[in-house]
Symmetry: C2
Subunit: 359 residues, 2 copies
C-alpha cells in the first residue's frame, strides 16, 4: 500500500476519481460523434455490421471521456478507480477501452484501482489475479530469443509506416493486458478466494481491497447479521482481512490487504478503523450516496492517513450542472466543459476532505 500512500501524500489529497461512464453520463456530442464515425467508416469501406461497428465507436467514446477527465485532474488527484462493470456492459470492445483507460492513467502517473469485485476460488482466483500479475504465458516463454527479436524488429520497422492512429493520438493497439495497481475482491468464498490475489500483490508491488462493509442499503442483509458468538458478519470479515494482510505490512504501517468500508456507515467505520489498525480503507459512498466529509473523516487514522475516498458521478458527471453546457456546443467545447467541471469538483472534494480532517 506504500505506493498509494506516497501518491496521496505527494498530492495532499486522499481522494480517488471513479471512472464509471455510462450512456447517461456522456455528453450528447460524444454519442453523435460515435454515430457519425459509424456512418462514415461504413461509407469508407468498413465491412462490419452496424451494431458491431457502433459498439467499438461507442466504447471509444468512453475512453475519450475518461482521458478528458484524467487530463483535467491528474495533477491534483493521486488515483482513479475505473468500475469495470460499466465497460463490461459494452462487451469486449468496452473491456478493451477499460484496459486502455487504466494504461492511460498509469502513463499519467496515477495509481489505478480496478473496481472489479472479483471473487472465486483456487485456480479460478489465480486466473483473476492476473489482473495484478499479468499475462499467464508470454511469447518469450514459448518462443526462442531469435523469434522474439525478429518479431520485435519487424514491428519496429513497420511502426513508421503505420498510420492507424486513433483520436486519442495513441497508436491503435489491441491485445494488451491489464494495467491495475490494485483490484477489489469479494470475501464470500473465504481464504481460498483471497490468497491468490495477496500472492499476486506481493509479487508485483500491488494491492487488494476486500469488501467488508459496503455502502448500499441492502448490505445489511448479510453483512450485519448477528453472530452467535457476538459481533456481526462484517466484523468477522474485518478480522479475516487483518489476518490476510498480516505479512505484507509496508513502511507506512498498512498491509497490501485493504478494506472497502462505505461512507454511509460512519459509526461502524470508526469502530472498524480501530479494529483494523493495519488495513487501509477504500471509502465509497461520499457525495451522491450521502456520505459527508465529516462521516468519512472517521475512517482515517490519527495522522490523517489510512483511507482514500471515492467520488464518481460527483466528479465525472459535474459537467451536467455547468451553466455553459448546452447541446449546441461542438465536441471540443463540450469536452472542455467536462474537464473543467471535473477539475472544479475534484478541487472542492479535496478541500472538503482537507477541512474535515483538520477538525
Amino acid at each position: 500500500m506504500d505506493r498509494l500512500i506516497d501518491a496521496i501524500k505527494a498530492k495532499n489529497n486522499p481522494s480517488v476519481v471513479g471512472l464509471d461512464p455510462k450512456p447517461a453520463l456522456l455528453p450528447k456530442q460524444l454519442i453523435d460523434h460515435a454515430r457519425e464515425a459509424t456512418v462514415s467508416e461504413s461509407e469508407m469501406g468498413n465491412p462490419m455490421e452496424a451494431e458491431a461497428a457502433w459498439s467499438i465507436n461507442f466504447a471509444a467514446m468512453y475512453l475519450r471521456f475518461n482521458t478528458t477527465v484524467i487530463d483535467a485532474v491528474k495533477d491534483i488527484v493521486p488515483a482513479v478507480k475505473p468500475q469495470i462493470a460499466m465497460y463490461e456492459a459494452l462487451g469486449e470492445a468496452g473491456l478493451w477501452m477499460y484496459a486502455r483507460t487504466c494504461k492511460y492513467a498509469q502513463d499519467n502517473g496515477l495509481y489505478v484501482l480496478g473496481d472489479v469485485k472479483r471473487g472465486d476460488i483456487g485456480s479460478t482466483a489465480e486466473a483473476y489475479a492476473h489482473h495484478l500479475s499479468g499475462f499467464p504465458l508470454r511469447f518469450s516463454d514459448v518462443a526462442s530469443a531469435d523469434e522474439v527479436e525478429n518479431v520485435q524488429r519487424n514491428a519496429a520497422a513497420l511502426a513508421a509506416d503505420v498510420e492507424d492512429y486513433d483520436e486519442n493520438g495513441d497508436e491503435f493497439q489491441f491485445g494488451s493486458e491489464w494495467y491495475e495497481d490494485a483490484v477489489t475482491v469479494n470475501p464470500y468464498l473465504g481464504t481460498d478466494g483471497i490468497t491468490p490475489f495477496i500472492d499476486a500483490a506481493k509479487g508485483n508491488d500491488k494491492d487488494v481491497f476486500i469488501l467488508v462493509r459496503t455502502s448500499n442499503p441492502s448490505s445489511s442483509e448479510i453483512q450485519e447479521l448477528e453472530l452467535r458468538d457476538g459481533g456481526r458478519v462484517y466484523e468477522h470479515v474485518a478480522d479475516l482481512v487483518e489476518r490476510w494482510g498480516a505479512d505484507t505490512i509496508g513502511d507506512h504501517g498498512y498491509s497490501r490487504a485493504g478494506a472497502v468500508v462505505g461512507a454511509t456507515h460512519p459509526e461502524e467505520g470508526a469502530r472498524l478503523r480501530e479494529r483494523m489498525p493495519h488495513t487501509f480503507f477504500l471509502v465509497p459512498g461520499y457525495g451522491a450516496q450521502g456520505g459527508t466529509a465529516a462521516d468519512v473523516a472517521r475512517m482515517f487514522d490519527a495522522n490523517g492517513s489510512g483511507a482514500i475516498v471515492n467520488s464518481s458521478r460527483g466528479i465525472i458527471g459535474a459537467w451536467r450542472k455547468h451553466p455553459d453546457y448546452g447541446e449546441d456546443l461542438d465536441l471540443d467545447e463540450a469536452l472542455q466543459i467536462v474537464g473543467e467541471s471535473a477539475r472544479e469538483a475534484a478541487e472542492r472534494m479535496r478541500d472538503d476532505l482537507d477541512s474535515a480532517l483538520r477538525h
Copy 2:
C-alpha cells in the same frame, strides 16, 4: 429456468461442461501453433509488438480448444459453463474469445451458463446485468432508420469481398456483446446487487445463479458462521434466494433465481434441497474436487430434476490421460484426441449421474 430444464430433459443429462481453459490444459500443439502464427504474421507484415500479437493468437487457441470440445459433446450435453476468469487472464483478447465461445455454443444449441460471479450494487449491478440484457445503447437507438439501413447495406455488399476468415471458419468479428443464458452472482451485497440481474433475466428469458454454499474448503469461514437467531449464514442466503426468485417461477416449478451449492457438502445440499423448493441448483465440485454421483444425487428433487452438475477439468482435461496422446502428434490429431476424450468423459459422467439418480 424452463429453457435449461427442457434442454436437460431433451438430452436426458443433468450435466454441464465447464469450459475453463488455462495454459496447462492446452495440448502443446495448440501453443506451438500460436507461436508459429505470431512469427509468420510478423513476417507477413503484422506491425504488432510480439507480446500483443501473441496474446491474440494464444487467446484464439482457447477458442479453438473450446470449439473442439463443443463439437464433440453438443449432442449429449445440454449446457456449457465457461469460467470467464480464465479468459480475463488473457486481457481483452481473452474476453473476445469468451464471447465467441458463448456464441459458438449458443449457435450449436447449448444453454450457456456464464460463470462470472459478479457482485455489485445499483447502477453497477445494472451494468453487469447487460451480460443478460445486451448492449445498453444501440446504433438503432441513436441513428436514423436510413443510417442503419445504409450501414447494413454497405456491410452486406462488402461481405462478399472480405476474406478475413479465421481458423474456425467464422467471419472475423470484433465488437460483439455477451451471449449467455445465465450468469452466476455473488450475494454479499444483498438485494441491491441481485435485483438488476433478476430483472434482466425476466426481461430476456434468462436466469441467474446465486452463490449459496460453495464447494471450496474455506467457504466455511463466512458461509458457515452460526447466527444468533439460529441457522448459518448460507441458510440465511438460501432463504433470500428463494425470496428473490419468488415471482419468477416457471412451468417446471423453479424460479429464475438458481443457487450454487457445492457437491462437497452433500448433507447441507440435501437440507438446502428441502429448504429451497423453487430454486434450481448448479452443483460444482463433482469429480476433481471430490464430490461423487451419490453426493450430488441428494441435490435433486423427487422427480430427478432440480439440479445440474458441473465438471470442468474431468472433461476438458481428459485428453491428458488418453493413451494415444503424444507431443509428436500433429495439431489435428491432437485436437481429435481432445474431442474424443471429452466425449468419453461426458458420457461416463452422464451414465454415472443417471445410475445414482435411479437408486
